[in-house]
C-alpha cells in the first residue's frame, strides 16, 4: 500500500467519528440468541449500568423499570428488568439488544444495533446504531448480573 493510500484509509476511519462506523460488525444468530460477543470481548457491567440509566443514551428507563433506587420516574411500558439475567442467557440478551424486532415484529423495544430498513431517520443519526458494539456488550454484561 502506498503512503497516500494508507493515509486515505486512515482518514476514512477517522471520518466515522464518535466511535461509530457506517458498517456494523457482523454477528451470527443461533436460535433466539447471538451467542458470541459482538466485539469478541466481554463487556463491562459497571459501564453497562451507567448506559442503562442514561436516559439520552440507553433510553431504557423511559420504558423499563429496574433496581435503580436513585432513579425517579421509571417507565412502565415494558417489563421490569429485575431478573433479566435469570430469564435469559447472555446470548439471548444480546439478540434482544441487537435486533428485538427479529423476536417480535411488533415490539416497541428498539433494535439497538440496526441501521438498515429504518424510515425517515434524522440526518444526525443516519447510518448509526443506537449503541455501539462495545456499549451493547457493556449493557449485556450488566443485564446478566440482574439475577433476582
Amino acid at each position: 500500500m502506498t503512503a497516500r493510500a494508507a493515509m486515505g484509509v486512515l482518514l476514512a476511519s477517522l471520518a466515522g467519528g464518535a466511535g461509530y462506523a457506517d458498517e456494523l460488525l457482523p454477528y451470527r444468530i443461533e436460535g433466539n440468541a447471538v451467542p458470541v460477543s459482538l466485539t469478541g470481548k466481554p463487556g463491562d457491567a459497571a459501564r453497562g449500568r451507567t448506559i442503562v440509566t442514561n436516559r439520552t443514551l440507553g433510553l431504557c428507563l423511559l420504558c423499563h423499570s429496574g433496581p435503580f433506587p436513585e432513579e425517579r420516574f421509571q417507565g412502565n411500558l415494558a417489563p421490569d428488568m429485575r431478573g433479566a439475567g435469570t430469564r435469559w442467557s447472555t446470548g439471548e440478551l444480546r439478540l434482544r439488544m441487537v435486533d428485538s424486532h427479529r423476536l417480535n415484529p411488533d415490539t416497541i423495544m428498539p433494535a439497538y444495533y440496526m441501521i438498515d430498513g429504518l424510515n425517515l431517520v434524522a440526518p444526525a443519526f443516519r447510518g448509526k446504531p443506537l449503541l455501539t458494539a462495545e456499549q451493547i456488550e457493556d449493557v449485556v454484561a450488566f443485564l446478566a448480573t440482574l439475577r433476582d
Binding site: L62, Q74, L77, P110, V121, F125, L130
Partner: protein, 259 residues
C-alpha cells in the same frame, strides 16, 4: 340529504377502518388529554383569566378587525362577527380544498384568505399572528364536537393513518404504538396520552408559549430521532386530518393547556 350524508360517513368509516397491526381505540374509550391533567392545569385551562393562551385569543380578536394587505380588508369585513361566522369551523378542519384537491388545515385556510382576498403576505407557521388568529377562530368552536365526515377526504385520512402507523426514526416507533397501544402508561415521568388534538393551538407549559398541532407532532418526531415533516407539508396535514378523524365526536377545548 341527511341520509346521503350518513351513508357517506359510513363509507368514510369503512374505508379507513383498521388494517392489521395496532387496533383503534374503541370510540367509547377515547379521552382527551384534559382528563389526565393535574388539578392546577385543569383550572388554568378552565378559567379564561388564568389560561395563558387567552392572550393569544385576544391578539387574534384584534387582528380579526385589522386591515391587511393591498386590498386593505380586515377578516371582519367579509366574515363579520367571528362568534357567528366562525362557530364550528375549527371543529371540521382540516377540510377539503377543491383547488388543492385535498385537505388544508386552518392555518393554510387563513393564509389562503390572506393571499387571495386580502392580497397580503402569508403569515409564517408558528408566528405570533398566525397562532393568534388560529386560536381566536378555534375558540369559536369551543364546546362543539369534532366533525370529520367529508367523503372527499377518505384517501387523505387513509394516508394519514399510514403515516400514523409507520415506524419512523432511529428509535423506529410509530405514533400508534404509543398512542393507540400504550396510552395511559408512563413514559418515564410522562403519561402517554391518546393524542387527540382537541385543544389546538395549545399553551404548552414545556414550551412556555402557544403552539400548533404541527409543532407538537414535530416534538414527537424529533423524540423518535426522525426528520420531521416540514410545516404545511402534505404529510403534516394528512396526520392532522387523521388525528381529527380519530378524535371525531370529542369536544373542542381550544385554547387548551397541556404540560
Amino acid at each position: 340529504m341527511k341520509r346521503f350524508h350518513a351513508l357517506m360517513c359510513a363509507v368514510v368509516l369503512a374505508a379507513v377502518a383498521g388494517p392489521a397491526g395496532s387496533a383503534d381505540i374503541p370510540l367509547d374509550q377515547r379521552r382527551s388529554g384534559y382528563a389526565d391533567l393535574g388539578r392546577d392545569t385543569k383550572a388554568m385551562q378552565d378559567d379564561d383569566t388564568s389560561n395563558p393562551a387567552s392572550l393569544g385569543v385576544q391578539d387574534g380578536e384584534a387582528l380579526w378587525s385589522q386591515k391587511a394587505g393591498t386590498a386593505g380588508k380586515a377578516c371582519a369585513e367579509c366574515h363579520g362577527d367571528a362568534a357567528a361566522s366562525m362557530k364550528g369551523v375549527a371543529a371540521r378542519y382540516p377540510a377539503f380544498s377543491p383547488a388543492r384537491k385535498g385537505p388544508i388545515d386552518l392555518e393554510q385556510r387563513i393564509n389562503l384568505c390572506r393571499t387571495e382576498n386580502q392580497k397580503a403576505e402569508p403569515l409564517a407557521f408558528e408566528s405570533r399572528e398566525l397562532l393568534a388568529l388560529t386560536a381566536y377562530i378555534g375558540r369559536q368552536s369551543r364546546g362543539m364536537p369534532i366533525v370529520q365526515s367529508d367523503a372527499r377526504l377518505t384517501s387523505a385520512i387513509d394516508a394519514g393513518r399510514k403515516l400514523f402507523t409507520q415506524r419512523i426514526g432511529q428509535i423506529s416507533l410509530s405514533c400508534a404504538q404509543c398512542h393507540d397501544d400504550n396510552w395511559g402508561k408512563q413514559l418515564a415521568s410522562s403519561l402517554v396520552p391518546q393524542g387527540h388534538p382537541t385543544g389546538y393551538p395549545i399553551y404548552r407549559l414545556e414550551w412556555q408559549s402557544l403552539g400548533s398541532l404541527q409543532r407538537r407532532l414535530r416534538n414527537c418526531m424529533i423524540g423518535m430521532r426522525a426528520e420531521p415533516y416540514a410545516y404545511g407539508a402534505p404529510e403534516s396535514v394528512e396526520l392532522e386530518l387523521y388525528l381529527m378523524w380519530r378524535a371525531r365526536g370529542l369536544t373542542v377545548e381550544t385554547p387548551g393547556v397541556r404540560p
